[in-house]
Symmetry: C2
Subunit: 420 residues, 2 copies
């Protein structure tokens, strides 16, 4: 039996989940993996009298974990970027391994960290063992595309908007009441959290550096029940996806609302669940879904990383596969099909004007929804699904469309999921 002595920084829900999981399933973990995990110290700014530390020492200074020579691995669960990063760097530099659920530190500062003994399964898609799948289960595969629902808040909100036909603001209030969204929801609903996770997946799957700044990010604030309904009519669900695609000349990395066809499994992942779809040369299209957050679910991933460290301390870090030749493509260079909702005056000739502009940019129309029954002169939506075109062309076409006198408001543009 291998043993590993660990220290835990933080005493929130995930840390509590790790403590109780290690205690309750101790013998099962030992039998299954041959690894015995000992928590020797827990450190947190404030003690929590109700939490059973199962005999571990307690410090109010997380830096005490660095000086405790018994500790071989530090589990960083304090969150944030300052102290957490300091602790991670300190641990790695002093020869301790680190397991963290901190996606911001990895996505934003991953390049500066010595990563040989750093693991972060819990930072992406909660309980889903997606990082282990990329590194072990699919080890033999070259990845061509990784995409998925990697923010549970957005997925909960879009699912609820679809089911109930109500708007963003009302659902946000509910998500906040249910604890699915923070008081300041920016991180989630504006796509930043998803972009952190996508940055990590990109480094692992495509061997890039951690390049958060180059990920194109759009949130879900602009999505309306109207768009959700039109999308349904066209055979799609609107999901907030992170998308990575490898090309000969670079990598697409983008986070935005996306029309996903009903035939795709990802379209049926509802509520706070996460799902990651991997397309690769040998395994083909695989999908991994599960809870993306929560104390116990995240603890499951943390403990998997602790065991993996004990078993595979010599595994190459992601450093080993960094391929700096791969550029991350500007979003203007991607090719996509698009959903367009164009608010127009209900006048003769408007549709012809719209199609003429699209045609002048070589943008072909795949499907159209035009609602009848309006009075002349009222505003009416022209809803289009285009075939694949380069985003740069679409941007030019949109500028011209919005300049038309007959177009009454901003054109709503949502990208369609690539066919992988």
């Amino acid at each position: 039996m291998k043993t590993i002595s660990i220290g835990i920084a933080g005493l929130g829900t995930v840390a509590q989940g790790v403590l109780s999981l290690l205690a309750e399933n101790r013998s099962l973990i030992e039998q299954r993996s041959g690894v015995s995990v000992h928590v020797v110290r827990v450190a947190s700014r404030s003690a929590k009298p109700g939490v059973d530390l199962h005999g571990a020492d307690f410090s109010t200074d997380v830096m005490d974990l660095l000086s405790d020579s018994r500790i071989e691995l530090i589990v960083e669960l304090i969150g944030g970027e300052g102290l957490a990063k300091e602790l991670i760097v300190g641990a790695l530099n002093s020869g301790k391994a680190v397991v963290t659920a901190n996606k911001a530190v990895i996505a934003l500062h991953g390049n500066e960290l010595p990563r040989q003994a750093l693991r972060f399964e819990a930072a992406v898609a909660g309980a889903i063992p997606i990082i282990q799948a990329l590194q072990y289960g699919l080890v033999a595969n070259q990845f061509s595309s990784i995409s998925g629902i990697i923010n549970g808040t957005c997925n909960y909100m879009l699912s609820a908007m679809e089911e109930e036909g109500v708007g963003f603001d009302e659902i946000l209030e509910r998500a906040q009441a249910l604890g699915y969204a923070e008081a300041d929801p920016t991180f989630d609903v504006d796509g930043i959290d998803a972009a952190h996770k996508l940055t990590i997946l990109m480094a692992l799957a495509f061997g890039t550096q951690f390049e958060f700044d180059k990920v194109y990010v759009e949130g879900i604030r602009a999505i309306t029940p109207t768009d959700i309904n039109y999308a349904a009519e066209l055979g799609y669900r609107i999901k907030h996806l992170g998308i990575l695609r490898g090309h000969a000349d670079g990598i697409e990395a983008r986070v935005h609302p996306t029309l996903v066809p009903h035939g795709e499994l990802v379209a049926h992942v509802s509520g706070v669940l996460n799902a990651v779809q991997v397309v690769s040369d040998a395994a083909g299209k695989t999908l991994f879904s599960g809870p993306g957050a929560g104390g116990a679910a995240t603890a499951s991933a943390v403990v998997a990383d602790i065991v993996d460290t004990a078993l595979n301390s010599q595994r190459p870090s992601v450093d080993a596969v960094v391929d700096t030749s791969k550029a991350i493509l500007p979003v203007a260079q991607i090719s996509s099909a698009y959903y367009l909702r164009i608010p127009t005056r209900d006048e003769p000739g408007v549709f012809a004007e719209v199609t003429q502009i699209l045609s002048s940019h070589n943008i072909n129309i795949e499907a159209v929804i035009q609602k009848d029954g309006h009075d002349q002169g009222e505003s009416v939506d022209i809803v289009l699904l285009t075939q694949d075109t380069q985003e740069a062309h679409m941007n030019k076409a949109l500028a011209q469309l919005e300049a038309l006198a007959s177009v009454t408001d901003t054109v709503m543009r949502i990208r369609v999921a690539p066919q992988d």
Copy 2:
């Protein structure tokens, strides 16, 4: 860099997939895992002149792999139970590790094999790294239920029957023409292949012996488009599932057609894909889907096992967790909701007779479909969805229903997926 020298037994599509995957993605595998895999000998009854062995020696006798002292690991891909088992036992007894895709040998003879150095990710659900997920990614979890689509032939056929409204025989012919079903389809359509895989999942997830004989097995021959349509009307799809559920007094292990509610992700896994849903105490409900067969997809799992052997040769085998206290429950003891299609004479009082019998066994009705517009005296289906009841009670009720003069044919009974 760790190196591992392997021999491959067999030269069919999977073996060819392994050879080309190891050649094409060699540097990627080495960078990602730190493991360098060398194929030193390939053995197959007959040479295949067109296949590139990438410099490996060739034998027509697979037993040559045992006497080649360079070989540390044998990949068994000849299939069948006789020679394959002999080779596996010979390899393990002579201190060589074994990786196999042979589900029959593992499910039927697993208990007799020395399993410390035996891996079989490719035996269950093809490319999906489900065994690694159970043993590594979800290592900290106690599993309460494992269920899923683990036979691609059945899933292709049921999906096609639903889409096209045609019957079993016609779809079977097509599946055979497409190579999705064997000339003798028994293994797949009667559920035996799925039961092999379920036997393996049970041993891994619940620590039982390999007890294929105790798995309850039903195939899909009896399923009709009529049942598929009724199920759809009730909000369900019919899927051929393998189901494992842990209880205090034992384990349910069963393979049969199952009504899966549309709200479940598994209901949307179509065509030849496989999907395994895992419910566990910490990670909650996770799902893993992907191609269940095919040369490259299976090769992906085989190579993952080769790398895993090189990295984790000291991992405890499944032996370590065998818990013989867990009995496998007879199917009569399971509790389930049921779909019943009862062909009856369209006469007054028949429905009352039916409900009276169910009620006498304390079986409650959840939903009913009764079609109008028939002439008196014609045969008409009474379609019912029951609430949960013990299978033993349902068996008694069915016997009484079928004894009714007004019931004109066998009652179709399909179990509803448990709510996990």
